[in-house]
Homo-oligomer: 298 residues x 2
């Protein structure tokens, strides 16, 4: 029998994908650019980040209307930009992503850089075009820029590249991941809190959940690179190992990595318990944690 989370995901994934397709098709720009942007956005994936926003809105009884889809969708646009640039020859140099050719393999390197630039920029436009009040718009755009920019994700990327030359300590690796993956996941949850209009106590606890979930997410990503096949992940595997990247399994072995994963999951569960005590429904957020038991691809 399907869980509440699976029902929710099924229902909203279709709507979200339609929203993204419509948003991109309506942009008044060069067709080649739009094709390249849509190619990567439509490559699928679980849409974890936007789903977190939608789930928190649902749990807080915020009506999931077009504006909420726009905020959720804008995060997927921005996340997709990061994947396109990450795959570039000068970065990770990947040929496959989600089982299809990476953007630069399909459209060439110049268009891939610009498709990434376009997605990043239009993520802000997408929020700006909503009918949300200006205060919420300004807060969302500022928080998104902080999470994705040089104080967040972009610094995580740089730390990742710089880290290839040296062994990081656990604290350094945690900071790297907090910026590279954690910042956008925390933004997703903060955005959900903002749209849902939760109390300050709830907002803090949702943020704690996000931090723990984001960490678990990245550790699991590192583990999957070691234990999966290319077919399961839809992209090259064992690359981290081969390139001696700084990962949890590399730093503390596979058992150590699983231990860290379980610790992060425990923290996330504690936050959910606290949220329950604060009067918030948490079935859907709890559903996100099942992901670590059954995930087959990104």
């Amino acid at each position: 029998m399907k869980s509440e989370f699976e029902h929710f995901q099924e229902q909203h994934l279709t709507h979200l994908n339609k929203y993204l397709e419509m948003y991109l098709s309506r942009l008044n720009g060069e067709q080649t650019l739009k094709d390249a942007m849509f190619y990567s956005v439509s490559a699928g994936g679980k849409r974890i980040r936007p789903m977190l926003i939608l789930a928190i809105c649902n749990e807080t009884k915020r009506k999931i209307d077009e504006d909420v889809y726009a905020v959720a969708g804008s995060l997927e646009l921005l996340h997709t930009y990061s994947l396109i640039h990450d795959d570039l020859p000068e970065m990770d140099n990947d040929d496959l992503r989600r089982g299809q050719l990476t953007n630069h393999k399909k459209f060439g390197q110049a268009i891939a850089v610009l498709a990434g630039d376009g997605l990043l920029t239009t993520a802000f436009e997408c929020i700006g075009n909503t009918k949300l009040n200006d205060s919420i718009k300004a807060k969302l755009m500022t928080a998104l820029a902080k999470a994705a920019g040089p104080q967040g994700m972009v610094s995580g990327q740089v730390a990742d590249i710089e880290g290839e030359k040296k062994h990081l300590t656990l604290a350094e690796l945690q900071l790297l991941h907090q910026r590279k993956t954690g910042a956008l996941i925390a933004y997703a949850c903060d955005a959900g809190s903002l749209l849902g209009g939760v109390s300050t106590e709830q907002q803090k606890e949702i943020h704690q959940f996000a931090m723990a979930f984001g960490l678990a997410f990245q550790i699991y990503d590192d583990i999957l690179d070691v234990v999966s096949t290319e077919k399961q992940l839809g992209k090259a595997v064992h690359k981290d190992q081969f390139e001696h990247k700084n990962t949890y399994p590399e730093l503390m072995g596979l058992d150590g990595a699983y231990h860290q994963l379980n610790e992060a999951l425990f923290k996330a569960q504690c936050s959910l318990k606290s949220l329950g005590q604060l009067g918030m429904k948490t079935e859907l957020l709890s559903g996100f944690l099942d992901y670590f038991a059954r995930r087959k691809n990104k």
Copy 2:
């Protein structure tokens, strides 16, 4: 004797550069990234785009405070990102910019992509961090994203690349330039109008001025590539010609290009005259037009 415009420029250029240095130094991120971002931002240039914002604020008696510098500075951050990505090997493949090595030549291609991404993203953060009211913040960020993204500058870039394979008509070339260069210049003037709180009539006329100025700016850029030396421009010259890029001189000869330039300048002057009739001071904006007579480098 120095003109009012030259006095103004001298006074505010120093402040603006200090603001940019302070803003970047305070970011809590990886040092390598911050160095790469600052390297290109501090390479100089006339700062035409932020200066337009400052000039309109000055003419409308808007106090030029820290918030105005932030809005002006954020546009320079974003403009600098576009130059860094534009210079990449997969794009224009330039080694020199403003007389110094391009970002990727200095820091490597991966860091250059990320420095560009960081500058683009933090431009929005920079506006979001001001004390301006939320309505103005939201309007500025939305307009900036529209001007810089797939409905503006990024589409211009793609059209430029696609255009290398074919001859464009004058109308197509104008659309290309309107997006590639014009959109950000129009944004600068619109932002100035918003900060200055001008009337609707004045706002429309300032926008008209921006469109004409932006067009003149791009035509002059095309002309300079033909008539200048590398030393004068601080970057490689005659590349457009060599690569049969779609430019005004390529499409209609040098005389034809000068004719189009003068036509655009005439339109800009007409707008300034109308603005004067609408009760606005225009000495500073007029000073921007002198630029076309004495400009030596970007």
